[in-house]
Symmetry: C2
DNA sequence: AGCGATAACTGATCGCCGTTAAGTGAACGG
DNA sequence: CCGTTCACTTAACGGCGATCAGTTATCGCT
């Protein structure tokens, strides 16, 4: 016990090694610190399996079991971590769709570009949230606050508007089309993420060209 | 040591618990048994993290370290496991493309349907092979024997034929288009797999409708 | 100022994992 | 019959997610 004491003089060290215990009503402070650390580690490691409960705890400057005071298990921690950034995605999607107006097709293109760009900016969170979860994963009763549900609703609304205005094929099954469109942009994000930095199978992939091809392909196919 | 002996009388038990040691030149027998067991477990668990080296070893009736006599690590074991089934996919794709002839668009639709159907039939292997690997994953120098490279080459060839025959837009960047098409079918498979058996976000998804919508959307967008 | 209650957090431990090192015994060639 | 070699095992390491039984700091209250 030579150096380990911190009742006073605790403002210089930022946080990680020694952390001041939260005061009585402020237990939730730790929750946010945990989420921040988990997000930082997820971005840096790029892979959810490389983010460990123990690692997050050490980054926060706390013991591993403390995590469980705020999250039921690792899955919940990661979900909440990614959820925060996906709320930002929804914001961006709504901006892309709402601002500048234009035709439905133009708005969909903008939204698609925003979605893909966002996914490529946050690959760790993207594959964590949309990647394969445990096979036994609970029915995952998602409500309207779930960012995925919101984004899907936005897409369905857009397609409905397009059909109604005659801009899109009138016999479109909007639900099926929404899933198909989502699948196409999702696949684009996923493949571009996966292929980042691996030996190119045939040649270097021009990301921009792929994105624009995918988007125009999709929408030409939907147009009336 | 009451019941544990097996020098003789070893024909009744099939394999799992006690396994006859292979003879001198037949060490590779175990390799195939391991692959079979790994495939079985992967199909049954649906998730690569639920397939453990120890579990595979027990299923074969062998000790865990024996796996490492035939595979460098778990990743290699899983890769080889999935590779076997993806060779079958390539076969099916070539049948779909080659047989019955027809226009390029027709052949692409058949291939797309075959790809998606295959992915949905083998979800465990699909997400294992195409899902997120470790972030540090080696450049993965894939050669022409890799099923992914072969399938991609098939797709590129098809697109080139379509452009040449005037069936597809003449200004198509075939590489970018191939990636985009692959992304779209991949995304469709991935999303339909992920959404299997979870509480539907908006309503029940009609898989057939999604598949047909995705395929026609794609190809209408590519057509001249 | 002192004290019991309670919120916030820790140390020790469990059972599992992937992986490695060292050893054992059966099958073969000579 | 013997030594080598192949096929495999036992034991163990370090790290993982998770649990449980404490421990300590802060609070309201007298």
């Amino acid at each position: 016990m030579t150096t380990t004491k911190r009742p006073s003089s605790a403002v210089d060290a930022p946080d990680p090694p020694g952390r001041r215990r939260a005061r009585k009503g402020e237990g939730d402070l730790l929750r946010d610190e945990i989420l921040d650390a988990a997000e930082r580690l997820l971005v840096e490691k790029g892979n959810k399996d490389s983010v460990t409960i123990r690692g997050v705890a050490k980054a926060v400057g706390v013991s591993a079991p403390s995590i469980y005071l705020h999250f039921a298990d690792k899955e919940e921690l990661l979900y909440e971590t990614c959820r925060r950034v996906f709320d930002i995605l929804n914001q961006r999607l709504m901006e892309a769709v709402g601002a500048g107006e234009g035709t439905v097709v133009e708005r969909m293109i903008r939204a698609g570009r925003a979605y893909i760009a966002f996914g490529l900016e946050h690959p760790g969170q993207y594959v964590t949230l949309f990647g394969p979860g445990p096979a036994d994963s609970a029915p995952l009763d998602l409500d309207d606050s779930d960012p995925g549900v919101q984004a899907f609703g936005l897409l369905v609304g857009l397609l409905e508007a397009g059909v109604e205005s005659g801009e899109l094929k009138s016999d479109t099954d909007v639900i099926a089309a929404a899933v198909a469109v989502w699948a196409a942009v999702h696949g684009t994000v996923y493949i571009l993420i996966s292929k980042r930095g691996i030996a190119e199978p045939v040649m270097t992939i021009d990301e921009e060209a792929v994105i624009e091809t995918a988007l125009s392909m999709m929408l030409d196919g939907l147009r009336a």
